[in-house]
Amino acid sequence: MSNDRRRRRAERASNRTRPTSPVQRRAPASRGGLRGTIDSFGGPVTVGAIGLALVFVIGLVFLNRPGSSIDNTPFEPKERAQVDAKTWGDPLAPVRIVMFEDFQCPVCRRFTEELEPQLASEFIETGRVVVEYHHMAFLGAESVAAASASECANEQGAFWPYHDILFLRQGAENAGVFSTSNLKTFAEQMAAAIPDLGWDQAAFDACVDGGQTTAIVEAETGEARTAGVSSTPSFLVNGEAIVGLPTYDSLRSTIERVEAAASGGS
């Protein structure tokens, strides 16, 4: 390394003392423009490396972007007994599960699709568990929009089927999937699948456009944050917290434990 230093010092010295020829006088001009710019960045190899790095990152960003297309799987309504507004199940059930969800949260969708059917058949339909939905709309503007629309559906007693179609249609976060027009279309699709719903699309559209239910969503999200909820899905099983997606076995054991405690205490 010290040899390096000596060599460079000698080169600098010889540059200072060497007589200037016409060729040398032209040299700075020939190194201007593109070549000069490339050299100032460390030469062609380094510039090539910068280019490769940029292409690689752009590729990653492109691949990383979740698809913004809408899942157009036909909506099939679920049978839900004992539904009252945003609760589902026997209100006198010994175990109450308060769940905090966001319609843009993919793990919440997984809960609805993967765990809920078992939970329904084993605990909700047997009167052992009642589920209560709370908004934790924290993943951006379309989370709030979707939750507000679900409150509009709730005004017509259709929170749960609308909840189901929102999760079915879930796509990229804040990429237009839960735009106002799509939220109205999803309601039409839901109503078409449940002929006896008594659905008033005009009232729903007016509610979505009016935005009066946003205050409910913001209040619930604020309450959830105050209660210490910071991610979705989160659950309170008779007050016992489960954060994230549990396995069905761990959810069952939690329910059975708090159920035993509730019956023991009564």
Partner: protein, 154 residues
């Protein structure tokens, strides 16, 4: 130049080791469905890890980060103690620079997603972004000189 180069090399090695640790931890969090692992006192790495941006073509971003730090650690360790201890080929500092540049740019994009799209900050992810940015800054001088000479310092 020699002492500065050695100082930078050691600093980058240390950062790469810490980076491997952070990325390995985040990878473990990503594969933890029960979320039993703590995110630390700040932010919410579970929300970030469960977002739709946490994978690239099915590969967890944290695993990509781990691969990057392992590659950097391998190159730097070979330069410090291995076959390139006396003289590294000129592509070595360029490769370190290019990997660190890509990592820094992608980390900047991920930090943007955390702040403005996912709306949750992940302290470990920010730590990784700072580590790779520091490595990029340290790699910069050698990449510039490597492009003009046959061998670099790093």
């Amino acid at each position: 130049m020699a002492s500065l180069g050695r100082w930078r090399l050691d600093a980058m090695l240390l950062l790469a080791v810490v980076g491997v640790g952070v990325a390995a931890y985040l990878t473990k969090v990503g594969f933890d469905p029960e979320r039993a692992i703590s995110c630390g006192p700040l932010g919410d790495c579970h929300t970030v890890q469960n977002s739709q941006y946490a994978d690239v073509a099915g590969v967890p971003v944290a695993l990509l980060g781990l691969g990057m730090y392992v590659a950097l650690l391998g190159l730097l360790a070979a330069r410090r103690w291995g076959p390139w201890a006396s003289m590294a080929p000129s592509w070595v500092p360029t490769a370190v620079f290019a990997i660190a540049l890509a990592g820094t740019l992608y980390s900047a994009y991920l930090t943007y997603l955390e702040l403005w799209v996912i709306d949750a900050i992940c302290a470990w992810c920010v730590a990784s972004a700072l580590i790779i940015t520091a490595m990029f800054v340290l790699a910069l001088p050698d990449a510039r000189s490597a492009g003009r000479s046959t061998a670099g310092t790093v």
